[in-house]
């Protein structure tokens, strides 16, 4: 059950060959050198995938998607990560694309989906609000009907990539109902409309990838609503089901762990020798490796069978905590250089600290940023609540 079939193995080889030959080498080189990718890099990367018909992962085939099985999707994700290719920005391709394909109007499908695949439109996800985080259903962002338009008011926060995005899809309250999950609609807006202001938020790792987006009487046509009024909660949950493995990132974990071990071979250990021979470090790395092996088996297991909400939640916790454990190993390794923080926009960014291994600043940034993995996408605490509900149901 954990082995690839011959067809899957052939597909893996095909994907691997693609990243080696037909994918922009400058993107891979930048990633490998720890340099920050800019929007154009992502466009180049997406275009290469699209040229091969591989950008619409998780989309149905008749909308330009790949139509892959879960196993193929997983193999592709893993090869992309192992190749050091750019992570696909999920907002458009992974989050809203499949929802548009499933619930959008014909016009939305005809206009929005090709724009995503052709990298003409980047999207942002407007779910969270200052007062609605874990308790997302309590959101207050409002859409009030005015003829053929909605008037949008409210604040979205933690909006990843809004600085690059052309569109935003928002959860908006269109009516007050008995249950707070009801009366929420999915409404899209171009981000350059009058009344929208984007405020960048600086994160602890020094990045500016998140934003606060304010809407002040922003007018959009009712035709920008996806699906039925008041049904957004249902759509979001459908998406959740199809995307439960999007946090797995097994390939990235393998890549990062391998990279760490390679770095260790160049790092001096106390009392001579290098850190790859340091017993404490080796055991610590082996511990993470063992965990990762079990997690990979969990993911493979879940590809072959229907998994429960509880299993999916357990997997999210395991995968995100494992990513954090790898980033901890990295700062443990790099710690001797006192954890410098350096800007990484320029190709020669390591020159600012010539006596410090370039690995250090990368380790710092990833440790800090990866703290977010257990916060977004349903925090670890919220996942545990989901799991407990399932366990409690067993007693009944």
């Amino acid at each position: 059950m954990l082995k690839l079939t011959p067809e899957e193995a052939a597909f893996r080889d095909e994907v691997r060959a693609f990243f080696a030959a037909d994918y922009p080498a400058h993107v891979i080189a930048k990633n490998a050198a720890g340099q920050q990718l800019d929007k154009q890099d992502h466009i180049d990367a997406q275009r290469a995938l699209h040229a091969r018909g591989w950008l619409g992962v998780g989309w149905p085939r008749d909308h330009g998607g790949t139509g892959w099985t879960p196993a193929q999707r997983y193999i592709f994700d893993q090869e992309l990560e192992l190749a050091n290719a750019a992570a696909i920005i999920p907002m458009a391709v992974i989050y809203i694309g499949p929802i548009i394909a499933a619930f959008g109007s014909d016009r939305q499908k005809a206009e929005w989906l090709p724009a995503i695949l052709e990298s003409r439109a980047f999207w942002a996800q407007g779910y969270s609000e200052p007062e609605a985080g874990s308790d997302l259903a309590s959101l207050r962002f409002s859409a009030v009907r005015d003829g053929d338009d909605y008037i949008l008011n409210g604040t979205k926060i933690w909006t990843s990539g809004a600085q690059w995005a052309d569109w935003i899809f928002c959860l908006a309250r269109t009516s007050r109902e008995e249950r707070k999950q009801q009366g929420i609609s999915l409404i899209c807006a171009p981000l350059d409309l009058p009344g929208i202001r984007i405020h960048p938020i600086r994160l602890i790792d020094g990045s500016y990838e998140l934003n606060r987006v304010e809407f002040d009487d922003v007018r959009v046509p009712v035709a920008n609503r996806i699906g039925e009024e008041g049904q957004a909660w249902h759509y979001a949950n459908v998406l959740l089901k199809t995307e439960r493995l999007s946090y797995a990132h097994i390939g990235a974990k393998k890549r990062d762990l391998a990279r760490l071990l390679a770095e260790a071979a160049h790092m001096p250990a106390s009392g001579g020798g290098t850190m790859d021979r340091d017993p404490a470090f080796r055991l610590a790395a082996a511990r993470v490796e063992a965990k990762l092996a079990a997690i990979e088996a969990s993911v493979l297991r879940s590809l072959r069978t229907e998994i429960s909400m509880a299993t999916a939640a357990a997997l999210k916790i395991a995968c995100t905590e494992c990513a954090q454990a790898i980033s901890e190993l990295a700062i443990d390794l790099a710690g001797r250089a006192r954890l410098p923080m350096l800007g990484r926009d320029e190709p020669d960014w390591t020159a600012a600290a010539p006596a410090v291994p370039g690995f250090g600043p990368l380790a710092v940034q990833s440790y800090l940023f990866e703290r977010a993995q257990t916060i977004y996408g349903g925090s670890t605490e919220i996942q545990k609540t989901i799991i407990w509900r399932a366990l409690a149901a067993m007693a009944r």
Partner: protein
């Protein structure tokens, strides 16, 4: 008394520089006395003030022990030991200082020396004899970096936002008086300096961790989700209790380190390492949980929280990491 005045100084507006702190509160004594120093360090941690306290205190101590020249307490002093080719063992120092006539020529690299871009004087550990890995052959030099044209200074900032620099000595000449203390025999002093600095950092961590816990208690008490304060959820209550347990151990650990500083070398080493293993675990756990409990807010640079976490991370690794201390305990 001392605690209150440091706390009041750090809470006030206006000049919070090192010189102002030292002059206003007459901290000369606290720089020499580890118990008083620990109180100052704890308050510096609580306020997360970026001040070169441990660096200066330990360098002053070294100068005194070496019979070097005295500096006013307000001077910013720091010590350069770490190098790209070593981890935490001082015997692995490779930088060379060779005699040239009356004086010395220094060659080699020091990495991420805290406060180097802002210091008045620098004490540098270099090899005057022996080979890398040997305990013998290390000596200390007192330098004015401003008067060293063949010293390349690459200034950057460490995770805690403090100034640091990579220092590359290209056969820089220094006069005979640069050497302080006995030549070739500095390693015991360097190791004791590390333990003294570590004890002060442990005390600073106590203030940092206390404050992080207090910030979490305040935030979860005020932040509402699911129609009630986050602090109503028992899962989070128990998490904060776990943080408190680490804070308590950290406080005891800091005492353990400070009170062992005047013991014999073996006792001191054991106590300081035991302390630091606990401090490092506390820094890691409390820092991670503090971010987690704040959700998205914990990820922003706008709250003080993240800056506390990053200072705690710096303390974990500044003079040696938990693995090195564990190895020293294990012997």
């Amino acid at each position: 008394m001392l605690r209150d005045s440091v706390r009041a100084f750090l809470a006030a507006r206006g000049d919070r520089s090192w010189a102002a702190l030292v002059d206003r509160l007459e901290l000369g004594e606290a720089l020499r006395d580890a118990r008083q120093g620990a109180i100052v360090a704890e308050e510096i941690g609580r306020a997360r003030a970026a001040l070169p306290f441990a660096e200066t205190a330990v360098t002053q101590w070294l100068l005194e022990r070496c019979g070097g020249p005295g500096f006013e307490a307000a001077a910013v002093l720091t010590m350069a030991w770490a190098e790209p080719g070593m981890r935490y063992d001082m015997a692995d120092i490779a930088m060379t200082a060779r005699r040239d006539g009356d004086g010395w020529r220094l060659g080699g690299s020091k990495s991420a020396v805290g406060w180097a871009p802002a210091c008045d004087r620098l004490v540098v550990a270099a090899r005057t004899a022996g080979t890398v890995g040997e305990r013998g052959g290390l000596s200390l030099f007192l330098l004015d970096p401003a008067l060293a044209p063949n010293l390349r200074t690459h200034a950057h900032r460490t995770i805690d936002g403090r100034p640091a620099a990579d220092l590359i000595f290209e056969d820089q000449f220094f006069g005979a008086d640069a050497l302080i203390g006995k030549p070739d025999q500095a390693i015991d002093l360097i190791e004791e300096a590390r333990d003294r600095a570590t004890a002060l950092l442990a005390a600073e961590a106590v203030g940092l961790l206390d404050s992080l816990l207090a910030q979490c208690i305040a935030y979860t008490g005020q932040r509402r989700q699911f129609d009630r304060p986050l602090a109503d959820f028992q899962a989070l209550q128990h998490r904060m209790v776990d943080m408190y347990l680490e804070c308590e151990l950290a406080r005891s650990a800091a005492w353990l380190a400070v009170e062992a500083l005047d013991e014999d070398a073996a006792t001191r080493a054991h106590a300081v390492s035991s302390a630091m293993v606990n401090i490092a675990r506390g820094c890691r756990f409390v820092g991670q949980q503090a971010i987690q409990l704040h959700g998205g807010m914990g990820m922003t640079d706008e709250l003080p929280l993240g800056h506390y976490v990053k200072r705690a991370m710096a303390i974990e690794v500044e003079w040696a990491d938990a693995d090195w201390h564990l190895a020293r305990i294990a012997g």
